[in-house]
């Protein structure tokens, strides 16, 4: 081994703490690339393969009832590649535990052939027997949550009749990879499942022999899906078409896609932050090292080492830190990737979902971290290379100081000398102090941003389930029924309040702009279901006119006082002009609300209701549900409280993992910056501090002088990080806004406190490590030697 390499090894060992902390920053950056980008790649590959295998549709449309022969006509439309029809229905499940109602989505499979589109993957058991009337395949998630196996059975109320169905197989489909009960935003696998049944069996139950109520189609590649959707809507208008929608609006696909998009953005943004911090730290540490090794550099050069060799020697320090970090990151990332994909597996059921790491990703990660090493080391190494041997032999000129601008404001006079020392050290190198503060601020911001997500979700949930939805049970009926059902329901023992509601699909038009929505009619003065904006303000149910959600109002470019053309898409399909009475800045869905009587007038014909909200005595709940089971008219029963509970349970688990990761991420950055900052300050001012010790300064007092600078940096970084975190939250919200939900910008004081507290802990820990070195300062050496 060459002597210069031995020097490298020994000095790497001497700087191990600092190089390790930089390696950790690099490792975290690389780990996040490998995990998130690798996760993204794996998910995307699984998605692509699964969609291809099952011939996943491009367009969906529900109708009330359309004859089968219509399918052939639609298949003949320009741009349509393939068409399939089916029968689907939502039905109550009669689950053995009666704590909360269950729900099933029943989807027909053609007897004797594979579906042309939206096929399923059979995981266990056998396919449905061609003529079987009581056999179903159950969705994987539901079966797993319930511990159901082929051979078990499930009881469901199909079109008012309780049926016992034998589960012959377990399956899943990309349509239900992410599967949530209607009206909910989160999976509830114990109470919501998907069931596939023979078309003849399901069709006859719902009186759809020779007819269908859902059609899916595939568009010829390159053809405009919107044009096909318009044609399909026109053809199905007469059959109660409820508006075709593209794959982008299919819930399971939409959720997965937005997850993938987020991953793509985060897997780029996070590593950039970490590698920038690593480059900054390398710059600091190497810069300091080279200024203490001026003489050694001069000696090397005097003995004939080439500038290139000297530069390579110092660049090697950066390479050691970055290579070690990169390696740790790649190994850690691959390991974490497995866990990450497993976590996804809990939400999206994909067959063949495995964490696969593309070699090119590792190459990219290595290249990116190499760039960070070179960028970080460049300035310092160039300074070393440039030093002429004679110049380097002389000690560095003493630093010059002057009172900085901050001090000239008059703050200086109020400070003790120690305070002025701290202030001037910062003001002398404002860029370094500023970048340090910015780096620590980023770690605060990462925490604020991460924790804000939970704040926002909890706020949304609280608003939705405690302010807007105040019913104990939500009922939907098989089909619209007479308002008199209200009396039947209120006679059930244990029911304290009944409010009925009606919902119809409608097209709203303003000038050339149009939008299909579910138009909702609530009871005037409704107490169980209210219209509430994100700030928590209640909008009264209008006695005439519509209240629109703000996204819808924006799309239609209307405001209160304007009128819109409402075309009801069911019944007599009447249309009328209706004034906008209010716009509500709500968080979920795109909807329009009015009062029940207004809606009845718009629809025409008999007054009817689609469902009811019930307030129930806690003690009477089980008996109420038992009674509801006996009412054929009731299609589904849902409990907002159960949804909230299951959601909060899931959130609780992910909260701990999520917060743990965030703390780790933020801690790596703040420890990296503060520890290295203090180490460098100690190296620069060790002599100064040792002479103070000789003059009788206590260890604690000297530590304050040394760490005061880092404390000030941290103190500046915290409010800056709060601001930065808030701004990032704002950007994230803007980028994630969708029609399904909007995230409110609420950051709880607790979030700010945790972010600040964690940073302070990281700072104190770093300071504590460095303080031990203060205690070991060599007091005798300073009496004799000049630096």
């Amino acid at each position: 081994m060459r002597a210069i390499d031995r020097k490298l090894l020994r000095e790497v060992w001497r700087l191990k703490g600092q190089l390790f902390s930089i390696a950790m920053v690099v490792a975290t950056g690389i780990m996040s690339v490998v995990t998130m980008r690798g996760g993204y790649d794996s998910l995307e590959a699984a998605q692509e393969a699964y969609y291809a295998e099952t011939r996943f549709a491009d367009v969906w449309v529900s109708v009330k009832r359309a004859p089968e022969k219509l399918a052939a006509e639609i298949a003949g439309l320009p741009g349509v590649a393939e068409v399939d029809t089916r029968v689907t229905a939502l039905a109550r499940l009669d689950l053995p535990d009666r704590a909360a109602p269950g729900m099933g989505r029943f989807v027909s499979l053609p007897g004797g052939r594979r579906p042309r589109l939206n096929d399923i993957r059979l995981l266990r058991g056998r396919p449905l027997a061609p003529a079987a009337r009581d056999e179903v395949l159950a969705s994987e998630k539901f079966a797993a949550a319930r511990g159901l196996q082929p051979g078990d059975s499930v009881r469901a109320v199909l079109n008012g009749r309780l049926r016992t169905l034998e589960i012959v197989g377990i399956a899943n489909s990309p349509e239900h990879s992410y599967s949530v009960p209607p009206g909910s935003l989160y999976p509830d696998d114990e109470r919501y499942g998907v069931f596939w049944m023979n078309r003849d069996a399901l069709g006859s139950v719902y009186d759809l022999d020779g007819a269908f109520n859902e059609l899916v189609l595939k568009v010829v590649p390159g053809h405009d899906a919107e044009a096909v959707i318009d044609d399909v809507d026109r053809m199905l208008d007469a059959w109660g078409g409820q508006g075709a929608y593209p794959r982008a609006d299919q819930l399971s696909h939409q959720v997965l896609q937005s997850e993938l998009d987020q991953n793509r953005v985060m897997s780029t943004a996070i590593p950039v932050v970490f590698l920038a911090v690593a480059a900054f730290l390398l710059h600091l540490v190497l810069g300091r090292m080279i200024s203490t090794q001026r003489t050694e550099i001069a000696v090397l050069k005097a003995f004939g080492y080439r500038t290139r060799e000297v530069a390579a020697h110092y660049l090697a320090f950066a390479t050691v830190a970055v290579a070690a970090g990169g390696l740790m990151g790649a190994v850690g990332g691959a390991w974490l990737g497995d866990a990450y994909i497993e976590l996804y597996g809990d939400y999206f059921s994909f067959p063949d979902l495995d964490f696969t790491l593309r070699p090119t990703l590792l190459v990219i990660a290595a290249a990116v971290s190499g760039v960070a090493a070179v960028v970080g080391a460049l300035g310092a190494v160039r300074a070393a290379a440039r030093l002429p041997p004679a110049e380097a032999m002389r000690p560095e000129p003493p630093p010059t100081f002057e009172p900085g601008p901050l001090e000239r404001t008059g703050i200086g006079r109020m400070l003790p000398s120690a305070g002025r020392m701290i202030l001037r050290n910062i003001e002398r190198q404002p860029v370094r102090a500023g970048l340090s503060a910015l780096g620590v601020a980023f770690s605060v911001a990462i925490l604020v941003l991460g924790l804000f997500m939970y704040d926002a979700v909890l706020y949304m949930m609280d608003l939705q389930f405690r302010v807007i939805q105040r019913e104990d049970l939500t009922l939907t009926f098989q089909e619209p029924v007479s308002r008199s059902v209200r009396h039947d329901l209120s006679r059930i023992e244990g029911v304290t309040l009944v409010e009925v509601w009606r919902s119809v699909p409608a097209r709203l038009r303003a000038a050339h702009r149009e939008r299909e929505v579910g138009l909702q009619g609530l009871a005037p003065g409704s107490r169980l279901r209210r219209v509430v904006g994100q700030e928590g303000r209640e909008h009264p149910i209008p006695s005439q006119g519509l209240v629109l959600s703000s996204i819808l109002a924006d799309q239609l470019e209307v405001s209160p006082g304007d009128t819109v053309r409402v075309e009801v898409l069911v019944g007599e399909r009447r249309s009328d002009w209706v004034p906008i009475s209010g716009v509500v800045d709500d968080l979920m869905g795109v909807g329009a609300t009015t009062s029940g009587p207004v809606l009845d007038l718009l629809v025409g014909g008999e007054r009817a209701v689609s469902g009811a909200y019930l307030s129930v005595l806690p003690s009477g709940r089980a008996s109420v549900e038992a009674r509801l089971d006996d009412m054929p008219v009731v299609a589904t029963v849902a409990s907002p409280q159960t949804m909230l509970d299951s959601f909060e349970e899931q959130l609780g688990d992910s909260l701990y993992v999520g917060v743990g990761f965030l703390l780790g991420f933020a801690g790596v950055i703040s420890v990296g910056i503060i520890y290295n900052g203090a180490r460098i300050a100690l190296s620069e001012r060790g002599r100064e501090l040792a002479s103070l010790r000789v003059m009788g300064f206590r260890k604690r007092e000297v530590s304050v002088l040394l760490l005061g600078e880092q404390a000030l940096v941290t103190a500046t970084a915290i409010p800056l990080g709060w601001l930065l975190g808030w701004a990032l939250a704002f950007l994230v919200i803007a980028s994630l806004e969708s029609e399904t939900y909007r995230i409110p910008l609420v950051v709880s004081p607790r979030t700010y406190l945790i972010a600040a507290g964690a940073t302070v802990v990281a700072a104190v820990a770093s300071g504590w490590i460095v303080r031990r070195r203060v205690n070991r300062l060599d007091l005798i050496a300073v009496l004799k030697t000049r630096e």
């Binding site: 003493p398 100081f401 002025r420 002599r687 009788g696 206590r698 007092e701 009496l783 030697t785 000049r786």
Partner: protein, 232 residues
């Protein structure tokens, strides 16, 4: 008697070799006297100063400062000893570069029990007109005078100067020595000057010459020599 060292030995272990830096040294420092510790490099004078100044502990022997045995004190006790009773002047001044002359002195007076004002200390060393200059703006002699002001401002009982002229030219060195002599005259602070420069010996009340870790010779000057008469 301010300080009494008896049988002080110091042995350093350098790998397998034992180095006897001090061999059973006895030394007394009296109130308000100026003593010059003379010796070549390696004679043990710095080791002795470190032990008297509470920076190091002897391997054997006792050092009594008034009634306190320094060898019994722990690190914290030694820090308090230095803080309350000792003033240090270093060969390379060791001023804080980020503080002005006045602030360098204040840094110490702010933690002292009964200090003199920083301005008064700087006046004593003839630097009233350089109060707000930073170290980088001052000559070596001026910096060393600031260091003396910093050492005496807390009114120590004992001023320890380690080669105070070592980094200075003759004229500047003499100026610094005259300041030390003047401070000793006006404040009556016991002063110990360590030097390898025999020419300085005449300015002390007493001269102790060290060699190979032992006191080779000790004599009392009947008359202190004026700084003007010193040359090297």
């Amino acid at each position: 008697m301010l300080l009494r060292a008896r049988g002080v030995s110091k042995v350093y272990h350098m790998g397998e070799v034992e180095v006897h830096a001090l061999r059973s040294v006895d030394l007394d420092l009296r109130e308000s006297e100026m003593i010059v510790l003379l010796g070549a490099s390696g004679s043990g004078k710095s080791t002795l100063l470190n032990i008297i100044g509470g920076l190091d502990r002897p391997t054997s022997g006792t050092v009594a400062y008034e009634d306190v045995d320094l060898t019994e004190l722990d690190d914290g006790g030694l820090t308090e000893y230095r803080r309350e009773h000792i003033g240090f002047v270093f060969q390379f001044y060791n001023l804080i570069p980020s503080l002005t002359a006045r602030e360098n002195v204040s840094l110490v007076t702010e933690i002292a029990r009964d200090p003199m004002p920083a301005e008064e200390a700087l006046d004593m060393v003839g630097l009233s007109d350089r109060l707000d200059h930073f170290p980088a703006q001052m000559s070596g002699g001026e910096q060393q005078r600031v260091a003396i002001a910093r050492a005496v401002a807390k009114r120590p009982r004992l001023l320890l100067c380690d080669e105070p002229t070592g980094a200075l030219d003759v004229e500047t060195g003499k100026l610094v020595l005259s300041v030390l002599q003047e401070v000793n005259d006006t404040t009556r602070t016991s002063t110990a000057i360590i030097t390898h420069n025999a020419a300085i010996a005449g300015m002390g009340d007493r001269v102790v010459r060290m060699s190979s870790g032992e006191i080779a010779e000790e004599h009392v000057n009947e008359h202190r020599v004026s700084i003007d008469e010193i040359a090297w």
